[in-house]
């Protein structure tokens, strides 16, 4: 039945061919929607990066006259050519919001879950193309609101990306909490709708639309990661939605969910009985899983790319799936480690310390497995591979500092210092960003039918890789020295008077790193039109997307959807002619390389396929 509908769909697709609006704008094709997410995410990434460089100018060159930025920043510069302290906070806030949600959630999951799930599980499209389209357009409208908030006279939200009330609830506390915060909340509400529509689709597609033979134990690790990410998203984003809704009530309708005993601007507010801590619990109930929503897809992408380019099976497939699963579950019960010093019950602090440090075990297993995968491999340093190895390195460097921060007693001193900034920018920020870049380089040939330039990719990698380390590694020292984050300047304090040199280095590295991204942008857009023509399977990879034609059309495979017989990591199998055996090659065709138990499976090959098809028809 499923097959019939697909052929039907395909027919429709051809009828509408050539209509610009249905093909490129309001498309229901998962590949086009993925590209829409990608391009939008890239635009946001560039903006988020530029914002960070602007506030790094303030921190690295505190005496510089920035009046040359007047044409862009206008009234946000003071008469002396310095960034306004309130605008500094707005920059920090918007940088965080944009990077976490718009780039690393929508840009990463939106692009690769959309692009890869149908292609790798062997489906013609997402379970609901229409919902998928809605998901993008909700994201687009959400983006419009957030973007607009950058240009209003009171400025965008400025209370930090975590928008803790009462600061975010009271316009008299900071001007960004006026219209800017309203737009932030509207934008995030729409964003959550988009994210949920996407996640429901991803889960449904993975469960229901796998091709014949594609059992869960044969899923590529990318799909496992996207699948569990979508589940995390579905369970946690509604909580942020609730938190935002209550905040909207507090701001606009006089309720007191988060507000109590406040005296501000010369008057005592009537709100009583609320708790700002409640907001933090609700926020981090999303906020911490969000870290893994950002990170897991990147780890999935990396697993796939490292195995392919090591020409070796990923080491410990089951352990990799198990650790993703374990991380996904634990991600829901560690949120309060962001709140050790908020005054919550110290006993909760103990529990969350315990649960948080447990999460280090599956994370460590993942690192060890990556390292073992490249051991005795035959490594091809494609740009995708370079960025994947970069990711593993960031995951190690940044992850290890989590052991400090997760320990509540040690966290007392480190909380809200630059040590935290260093930690999360490496482990979730840069690591996920590298996952995204790796994914773009690796799947570009399937997206656009052309190759990206590998030399430019290498140059881009090395500048970015070293640049990111130069930006975030020095922050560990600054953090151990106790420098608090979100400070416009530290000159008011004797304690924080040093490290002007390191802050200078960090800012210069940030500028260079941002500059290097233009190499990537050039490579991306140039290769889209002028790049070397790609073959159907340029990386000699095993997963199903490489069995499609160079430019897969609507419906992905021109004929039948391939049947899957083996797991996706049969690289360099002893006895095999090639160093890769795609998933759709039956064991009966590879007697020379089959393992003993695989020879037994040959008997089932015809039968098994039929059995599944019969079962499908019953539904």
């Amino acid at each position: 039945m499923a097959h019939d509908t697909h052929t039907h769909d395909e027919g429709h697709g051809h009828e509408h061919h050539g209509n610009f609006w249905t093909t490129y704008i309001f498309s229901e094709d998962h590949k086009v929607i993925a590209k829409q997410f990608l391009i939008t995410g890239m635009a946001w990434a560039l903006l988020g990066g530029i914002l960070s460089v602007i506030f790094r100018l303030q921190l690295g060159f505190p005496d510089a006259n920035l009046s040359w930025l007047k044409p862009i920043l206008g009234g946000w510069l003071t008469a002396e050519g310095k960034i306004d302290p309130e605008f500094y906070l707005a920059l920090v806030t918007m940088h965080g919001t944009i990077m976490v949600f718009f780039v690393l959630t929508a840009g990463l999951s939106g692009t690769f879950s959309n692009f890869l799930i149908p292609l790798q599980v062997g489906a013609r499209d997402m379970a609901s193309g229409f919902m998928n389209m809605l998901s993008y357009w909700f994201f687009f409208i959400s983006s419009c609101f957030m973007f607009t908030s950058l240009f209003i006279s009171t400025g965008p939200a400025a209370g930090g990306w975590v928008i803790y009330p009462p600061l975010s609830a009271l316009p008299q506390a900071i001007s960004g909490s006026g219209l800017g915060m309203t737009l932030w909340l509207i934008s995030m509400a729409l964003f959550i709708v988009s994210s949920l529509l996407g996640s429901i689709n991803y889960i449904t597609t993975v469960i229901n639309l796998r091709t014949v033979g594609m059992s869960f134990s044969k899923l590529p690790l990318t799909i496992w990661a996207f699948f569990l990410t979508a589940i995390i998203g579905i369970l946690s984003f509604p909580v942020l939605f609730a938190a935002a809704l209550l905040l909207i009530f507090d701001r606009s309708f006089g309720t007191s969910f988060y507000l109590s005993d406040i005296y501000i601007g010369g008057e005592a507010l009537p709100n009583q009985g609320g708790s700002p801590i409640l907001f933090q619990h609700l926020f981090w109930f999303l906020g911490h899983p969000e870290v893994y929503i950002v990170l897991l897809p990147a780890l999935g992408i990396t697993s796939e790319i490292i195995a392919t380019n090591s020409r070796k099976p990923i080491f410990g497939y089951k352990a990799m799936v198990g650790s993703i699963l374990f991380i996904a579950i634990l991600s829901f019960v560690v949120w309060a480690h962001h709140m050790f010093v908020t005054g919550m019950n110290p006993f909760l602090g103990s529990i969350f310390t315990l649960l948080t440090l447990i999460i280090a075990v599956p994370s460590a297993v993942k690192i060890f497995n990556y390292v073992t995968t490249i051991w005795r491999g035959n490594l091809r340093f494609t740009p995708g591979m370079l960025f994947s190895l970069g990711l593993v390195s960031f995951f190690l460097t940044g992850g290890i500092t989590g052991i400090f921060l997760g320990n509540s007693a040690v966290d007392i001193q480190l909380h809200d210092t630059y040590f935290v900034v260093a930690h999360f920018h490496l482990v979730m920020g840069s690591a996920s960003f590298f996952g995204m870049l790796a994914g773009i380089y690796h799947w570009f040939p399937k997206m656009f039918g052309r190759m990206m330039n590998e030399k430019l990719g290498s140059i881009h990698f090395w500048i970015t890789f070293i640049g990111v380390y130069m930006v975030f590694f020095p922050m560990h020292y600054i953090g151990i020295a106790g420098f608090p984050r979100r400070y416009y300047t530290w000159t008011n304090f004797e304690t924080f008077s040093g490290f002007a040199d390191l802050n200078f280095v960090v800012s210069v590295a940030a500028i260079v790193t941002l500059g290097a991204q233009f190499i990537f942008l050039f490579n991306f857009f140039y290769s889209m039109f002028r790049g070397r023509i790609a073959s159907a399977n340029p990386w000699q990879s095993n997963t199903l997307e490489w069995t499609t034609p160079r430019n897969p059309g609507h419906g992905n495979w021109p004929g039948e959807i391939p049947t899957v017989y083996r797991w996706p990591y049969d690289y360099s199998k002893p006895g095999a002619k090639e160093d890769f055996i795609p998933q759709n090659i039956p064991f009966s065709e590879t007697p020379e390389s089959n393992l003993p138990h695989e020879n037994e499976l040959i008997k089932l090959e015809g039968v098994e396929g039929n059995a599944i098809v019969v079962e499908e028809k019953k539904h």
């Binding site: 501000i264 089951k318 005054g343 110290p346 390292v371 035959n378 320990n407 007392i412 809200d416 004797e494």
Partner: protein, 352 residues
Amino acid sequence: MSMIIGLGVVLVVVILFMIFRIGNLMEVAKEKKEDSWNNINAILFLLFMVFGLIGFFWYSYEKWGTYEPPVASVHGEVTDNLFWVTMWITVVAFTILFIVMFWFAFAYRYDKNRKAAFFADSHVLELTWTIIPAAILTLLIIKGLSVWNDITSPPAKDATVIEMIGQQFAWTAHYPGVKDQELGHHNYKMIDAINEFGLDLADKNSFDDFKSLTLYLPKGKEVLLKIRAKDVIHSVYLPHFRVKMDAVPGVETHFKFTPTKTTEEMREETNNPNFNYEMACAEVCGKGHFSMRFPVVVVEPEEYDKWMAAQEPWLKQNPDYMKYVPANLKEAAMIKAGLPMENSTSNTVTLK
């Protein structure tokens, strides 16, 4: 001027583009082997590993002692110790993995004459690196939780209680008077421009309370900071005492600690005659977040008592507020605040 810079940038971009095009064409013409770039990347990984680690160890050694603020509290020494134990463990693990990973990247670079090993899993290996991290983490958890329990245990009965109040963008310290040693109640609805604490003058403990714009602390005695905020969330951050606790409007928080070194002693220890303890705000609270400096002074207990005794109660400084004291407590208030008696009668008269 900017025109010239703009033209220069355009020129550089155009030149880079030409180089890129020529390089591309050359490559097509020569059909060069892919191996050369693969080897360059492999070598770069090795160099990155070597120079990265050298840089890390050199800087950490060279600047040893400059990146950690000196510690001046009892629990601070314990948490610092835990911090450095964790540091040694993680640096060892980090260094080994860093070397191994990038060495593999170099050693197993592509070679068309070699085939990768088909090595898909090993229960022994996987159990090893599940159990070893789990065991080390267990030790860190046990140590961490016991330290955490000590820090958050109830304060001693005779602890010196001081209240810190955060507001945009300043701190104030609210001390109990020497006569009753108890903080008076407060109510946010009573806050005004003068009554910054929202001191509730119906409470007899409030009469001798005083305000200070410096946090005086006695050395060697347990101090219990009670913390609250008036407008938005702030966070009491005392870097030298390893103290951090949010100030939350509507929720009272607290943190106990014992200072171990007076300001004078710290000046000697750091060879810095201008050394001062400081308090900062660690939770973003608005435009002036970075400017919430509050001076902190630690003195010997005797000196602390002397300082306490010399402070003037808030009520004495603001006798107008006598009108909020209930009639039956007026006399007690006069005595506790040290106000002259006739003042009181005149006040009551005007009230009537």
